[in-house]
Amino acid sequence: MGEPAVRTEGLGRDFRRKLKGADRKGKGDRFEVTRALDDVTLTIDKGELFGVLGPNGAGKTTLIKILCTLLLPSRGRAFVAGHDVTEDVPQVRQKINMVSGGETSGYGIMKVRENLWFFSQLYGVPTEEANYRIDTLGEILGLTPKFDVRVSRISTGERQKMNLIRGFVSDPEVLFLDEPTLGLDVNAAREVRRFVANWVREKRENTGLLTTHYMAEADEMCDRVAIIDRGRIVACAPPHELKKLVQKDVIFTLRVGAPAEGSLDFVKAVAGVASWSASRSIDGKTAELKLILEDEATIADLMSELAARKVEVLSLNKTTPTLEDVFVKLVGRGLGAEDIVGPQAEAKE
């Protein structure tokens, strides 16, 4: 086996924010430091489609930006296709490309084909070859009819397909996909996933690094998945192996009505609860509890506790393990960070 496609050693990145006003004490500038990435050590082999799964703010995009040479690490080292991302910038850039979800790049006044040709020129692809690649990728993704339409006049899904073609038109060795299906409808997202998976399967020398907070996406597509939380990799293995972490556990999804703030905190004290997370619905009238139990009998105790506290149970389902269950078990909360009740409140303190 040759040089891995991506290798990081103790990679870390801090962001500093200058404190102002009441936050600033004493003389001189004071800074608040946020550790976005902490001691990340990874090896991604050639031909792998590698997923980085984590909630918003976990450090996924920071990792991609360092690997794409857009950001310097604060600590550690990173290599892409055998080249150091801080020392050998031109060599790294020659071998990579990047596609982000919800990208608004390109020029609205130009036609789709013109935009794609423009970006191919930044990689030095000869025009004749660039046109062939654009035609090929356009046909596979069904974007050819839009080639003569201005970018400002195409839909979000079509725009993301255009971005995807932009990423592949340079024939990269390593492609970084940062939430590539963000904001796409189910069908468009499926097409994008199939396209990326085919790219890796067709030429095993191609390597993809995909960040996502969609579990199904990581589960379906990736050879291996790293789970990242608050800048740290908490697990890294193929999806089926990660799921083994919760295979012996019993997983229930419980929907309850209108829980008061902190009213579900008792769950963590119930014997037999290995891990749990809760998220409130958008209207705030219900909450969904993800329960990872050491044995099935625990659910009876929990139901009794809920009844005693007059918490209305709307539904109860036993489920098969997913990567989210793995995440909940490892991190102690779910991936939907914003609606979490209970343990999330503790984590913020």
Binding site: R13, F15, K65, C68, T69, L70, L71, L72, P90, R93, Q94, K95, I96, N97, M98, S100, E103, T104, S105, G106, Y107, I109, M110, E114, W117, F118, F119, Q121, L122, Y123, G124, V125, P126, E128, E129, N131, Y132, R133, I134, D135, T136, L137, E139, I140, R166, F168, S170, D171, P172, E173, N198, W199, E202, K203, N206
Partner: protein, 294 residues
């Protein structure tokens, strides 16, 4: 469209490779030139899709020139002041192009997300800035030419025919120097956002004042003249007036101005290259290269 038939079975494997199986690209120089051409294409084709620019870029700017012409006419200034003002008005277009078409445009590229794609690609950002400059020159030259033609046809501006060719050479060096200066400003946007935009704004009026677009430089206090002489536009415009407008009293001897312009050309070219590198490094360190909505 490509003449080759699309291989739907093995689309990615059908991409052409180099002789040693390496990924196909035009080499460092070829990529630089290709990116330069492509960025110029975007600007030229883009502006030609909205032809309203011709009106805004040619007719409206004439109003300031006309205003100055009437002031000089009212004051009973010699006829050569018509040619003097027309040349100054034409050169204003290039300065505005540097500020808004190059420097401030990088801010727009950052906001739209194009900037990070520029930096992920294996091409020097200077190639893209040169592309922007080349593309801008097309519309700006149209505006400048319209000013000169209108000045000749409507107000009887006259120019020394023998000075046309040398003045075009001076124009070329001046434009090179001011566009490289614009690239130095542009590099600020790699690190900064709105703060950089304020700087671009603040460069507009002082240069209008110190460069002597519409009045002889030697009417200004000496300190302002010295400050103005650091702007290539001031020296270039003065040299062109000496060549094209008979009776012009130059700010400096023509030969010296030519030497200064050439030096400025190389100084700003090197400065642009260094400042882009430095600001890229700084922005990558501070995490601001890709930061939008600054």
């Amino acid at each position: 469209m490509s003449a080759r038939t699309v291989d739907r079975e093995h689309p990615f494997a059908s991409f052409a490779r180099g002789p040693a199986g390496e990924r196909l690209h035009k080499g460092r120089v070829g990529t630089f030139l290709g990116a330069w051409k492509a960025r110029a294409y975007i600007r030229i084709i883009g502006s030609n899709r909205e032809l309203s620019w011709i009106f805004f870029e040619t007719v409206l700017p004439l109003l300031s020139i006309i205003a100055y012409l009437y002031i000089y006419r009212y004051l009973g200034a010699p006829d050569r002041f018509v040619s003097f003002v027309v040349l100054g008005g034409a050169m204003v277009a290039f300065w505005l192009s540097v500020l808004w078409g190059i420097a401030n445009h990088i801010f727009w590229e950052k906001q739209s997300g194009n900037l990070e794609l520029y930096f992920v690609a294996p091409v020097s950002p200077l190639a893209l800035m040169l592309g922007m400059a080349t593309g801008s020159l097309v519309s700006t030259t149209t505006r400048a030419s319209a000013s000169v033609i209108a000045g000749v046809l409507l107000f009887g501006a006259t120019f020394n025919g023998e000075g046309v060719l040398p003045s075009l050479a001076v124009l070329g060096v001046t434009l090179g120097a001011i566009y490289f200066l614009g690239m130095m400003f542009a590099s600020l946007f790699l690190m900064y956002g709105r703060e950089g935009e304020h700087l671009a704004h603040s460069m507009q009026e002082p240069v209008f004042f110190a460069a002597g677009f519409y009045y002889p430089l030697n009417t200004l206090p000496l300190a302002v003249q010295v400050a103005g002489s650091f702007i290539p536009l001031t020296i270039g415009l003065d040299a062109m007036r000496q060549l094209l407008v008979p009776g012009t009293v130059g700010f400096l001897p023509l030969g010296l101005e030519a030497v200064i312009l050439v030096l400025m050309f190389f100084l700003f070219a090197a400065g642009a290259r260094q400042s882009v590198r430095f600001m890229e490094h700084l922005a990558k360190r501070e995490g601001r290269l890709t930061l939008r909505w600054q």
